[in-house]
Symmetry: C2
């Protein structure tokens, strides 16, 4: 596609099986389990994309999966996870600790916890997005722009694409990776972080694994606001025939808003497309 | 994707450059021109997808293009054609003969007419969809279901995929290929054919080239109504994160409506995604 007179490439993980890149890391993590571990199942917590990724990978490998999801997760992501045969346990996003719930389930059942980004095998699996970018272009691009929640995708791409400049994009107020990188140490999202449509990027705290990779790389980090994200969702739909969820559209939003210069040879990752139809209909009808 | 418990593959030409498969045939046809012919330019008539395909192929090859388009063509297709640098001449769909207009332009300028389907090089170019289906699956599917207007895409796939059963789908009332195949001779669309959202499939008369290929192959032909087509556009958006135009969605519509059994190993071609945003917003908001 073209932005501001420059050619920009879209890596469309919104078209991936499960509607996001998450199947990659989940598959790689589950493949590390031995037979005894496989027999005891896996448990994961996620607002939806990682949930579906783990559920699909588990079904394919014949492993039982339990997913801890926030009660306000998009209905499409809940339905998609359930359709893959996973058991779902709901929690309240604002009052309950999802990792503690997952840990309790793991303790009670012997299941292995599959984190959404704080795991080297997960990061390596997400990095296959970067390997594919190089394979599909036939070369390394000059720049890759990536949505960032916990940083698993960004860190994986950083490792897979050593010759590209990496730019990460977060929603305003949820820019804990940016502030962590700026300050040289991990800081959490503020308690009064604003609501955002980017449910996939509402990660309260990044992990040392992803932070260290991105800090060592010297990535650039920027933010986009909700209106810019909605404009990107609308643009992808109208001009590119793609349905992208808000959290999957923030990298595109930063380019369309002019926050990132489209001049260098750039690949933009559209990291997910799982959006409730009513919300998508509302967003594309606006503006 | 899964329909009725069966896995079905989507060949997403809605994601093709130009938003439809048409670039394939146009490129192959223009590559046949010698230097003298290239210098005199090309002229084509089309409601939009072929227009954009010819315009893009011509720009890439440095050939001047004039496109004869109906005045009621989707605004997105008109804008897309113009953005590729082509000159546009409008005609009235119900009162003027677009092929005569194109012939006059060709006579006056020496330009070569690039038909949208009545040409062996066009058919061969569209057939690369079939070659890619086999390449991407790693085998021939049992069945391929294809939208049919003039039959260029269907005939091309028929030639490229000799081991697959071929099913063509037309909008109700615009089923001239089906009636031609049933009767063993080409018949035109009835003068009182109903309005349809499938502008890409509003071909008044198929050609001997495409008819002969499909008749010799013994294809199955079915129709879908407007409500079934709209339901398919909605389903592709909600469940597959894809924007598909009505004419590009008729093959999918036939499967979703139960007109075609999804049980055999089936590939469905989504042939185009160029739909005005207001119409798409209206369709996906209904039902």
């Amino acid at each position: 596609m073209r932005i501001g007179g420059h050619s920009v490439w879209l890596k469309c993980e919104c078209l991936q099986t499960g509607g996001a890149f998450k199947l990659r890391g989940a598959t790689n993590r589950l493949l590390q389990l031995n037979q005894a571990e496989r027999a005891q199942g896996v448990v994961a917590f996620s607002s939806g994309n990682h949930a579906q990724g783990v559920a699909i990978a588990a079904r394919r490998l014949g492993i039982a999966a339990t997913i801890v999801m926030p009660s306000d997760a998009p209905a499409l992501k809940i339905a998609g996870t359930r359709a893959e045969g996973a058991a779902i346990v709901f929690y309240e996003r604002l009052s309950e600790d999802r990792s503690a719930i997952a840990a309790r389930i793991a303790e009670a059942t012997g299941a292995t916890v599959v984190p959404s980004f704080d795991d080297p095998h997960i990061v390596a699996g997400q990095g296959t997005v970067g390997l594919e970018i190089i394979d599909q272009l036939g070369r390394s691009p000059q720049r890759i722009v990536v949505p960032c929640g916990g940083g698993g995708l960004a860190a994986g791409i950083a490792l897979a694409c050593p010759d590209a400049e990496l730019v990460i994009v977060e929603p305003a107020g949820w820019d804990d990776m940016k502030r962590s990188l700026d300050g040289g140490a991990i800081v959490a999202v503020a308690a009064d972080a604003p609501p955002t449509l980017c449910d996939a990027l509402q990660t309260p705290l990044v992990s040392p694994i992803t932070f260290d990779v991105l800090a060592a790389r010297g990535v650039t980090a920027v933010t986009v606001n909700e209106a810019e994200t909605e404009a990107a969702v609308r643009w992808a739909w109208r001009d590119q025939a793609l349905v992208v969820e808000p959290g999957g559209a923030v990298a595109l939003a930063a380019l369309l808003a002019g926050t990132i210069d489209p001049a260098p040879d750039t690949v933009v990752v559209l990291s997910g497309g799982n959006i409730d139809s009513a919300l998508h209909h509302r967003i594309v009808g606006g503006g």
